[in-house]
Amino acid sequence: MLKDKSLIAPSDFTLEEIEELLRLAERIIQKPERYADACRGKLMASLFYEPSTRTKFSFDAAMLRLGGNTLGFSDPNTSSAAKGETIADSARTIGKYADLIVVRHPKEGTAKLMSRYAGVPVINAGDGGHHHPTQTMTDLLTIRHYKGNFNGLTVGVCGDLKFGRTIHSLVTCLARYENVRFRFISPEELTMPAFVKEELNAKGISYTETTDLEGSIHELDVLYMSRVQRERFISEEEYLRLKDYFILTAEKMQLAKADMIVMHPLPRINEIATEVDSDPRAAYFEQVRYGMFVRMALIMKLLGAQEPA
């Protein structure tokens, strides 16, 4: 039962709970209008202590499509945080108004702290470079929707593997499923960190590391692209050198399997050429839609909303 739980890290949910969530999301995808009143009368607080229009829209759209309402802010200067209120007190207060709290904060661990004091479920919408679990759930739903299941998949992750929070979460979450193989494709300066590889080694999960996208693309079932983030670099020169290291083009897509899917957490910069957008294997904009559906399912589950008859 997910009712009254909080989602702070992907590992907070068991595989059975993730399955329960993804199944509901898939039922919503089939007939979204059926769920238009599922959360009628419920209120979701979305507290964005740092701007993230994309994630905020996704959560707000999810709640509104369930018939619920939202309140909150997307600029911390307009909140009581600007007056020096502690996170714990904000959580206690907002928990008295809302049935559910969604929080994004630049400091790591903030969502967990809120969940200790709120008295209502808390969803972590990103805490610094730490976790962004609903992105992981989005990715899982997308992969499962296209591939049926996770068993036996070869998943390539490409780009900035060193700082890519969404990639770390996705890889460690997929590693909980059986028989998933990984290909880590990155410049030497941005390879997968040791803590992720240690986890895979401990579980005996197969992975390879390469700098060669063209040489690896043919064996992939899923290609997850990521952008090189400017804010992670001290040297502008280093950023400029690495940002266009991998560009997925229509020519490279010709080397891929006919049923491979391309994913990206967005926003993209240059790493996927726009010519790839029209390729039926480009799943990244659909991924955005699935993000909303999985958040609808998550809100329903945490609120214990009844599924319409």
């Binding site: 502690t86 996170i87 904060h105 790591e108 661990g109 967990k112």
Partner: protein, 140 residues
């Protein structure tokens, strides 16, 4: 060779990894004791090559959690009438509260006053603990 006389009453903290003795001395607050305390460094040891050793002429209540955090391989001998009456081996605690602080400057625990942050043991070999809020590893 410096000789330190045999302890009649008190505690001997033995098998301290060479170099860790002073850290233990500080963390246990032994400098604030009125009793006799001896810290010996780089003592020859058959088992360890070199080791540190602390003798305390007092029956104070040792904070074993702190000791386990700094060096779980130490042994503690309680001495009465010149004889060892009890020997305690340590294991690193699974969870500690109130001793460690998170070293991650981006962790919320360094920006809010949270006094009961838990740290969970993640690597007994290197004695590393992870902050319950941000998962960043740290050690004493």
């Amino acid at each position: 060779m410096i000789n330190v006389s045999k302890l009649k009453e008190g505690i001997v903290i033995d098998h301290i990894r060479a170099g860790h003795g002073y850290k233990i001395f500080q963390q246990l607050g032994l400098d604030r004791l009125d009793d006799v305390v001896v810290l010996m460094r780089n003592v020859d040891s058959e088992k360890m090559g070199k080791k540190d050793l602390i003798k305390i002429e007092s029956n104070l209540d040792l904070n074993l959690e702190v000791l386990g955090l700094i060096d779980p391989h130490v042994t503690i001998n309680y001495v009465k009438n010149g004889e060892r009456v009890n020997k305690v081996s340590l294991t690193p605690p699974q969870t500690v509260t109130g001793i460690l602080t998170c070293k991650n400057p981006r962790c919320i625990t360094n920006h809010e006053r949270i006094t009961d942050v838990k740290f969970h043991l993640v690597d007994a070999h290197t004695n590393q603990y992870a902050c319950e809020y941000c998962d960043v590893r740290t050690r004493l």
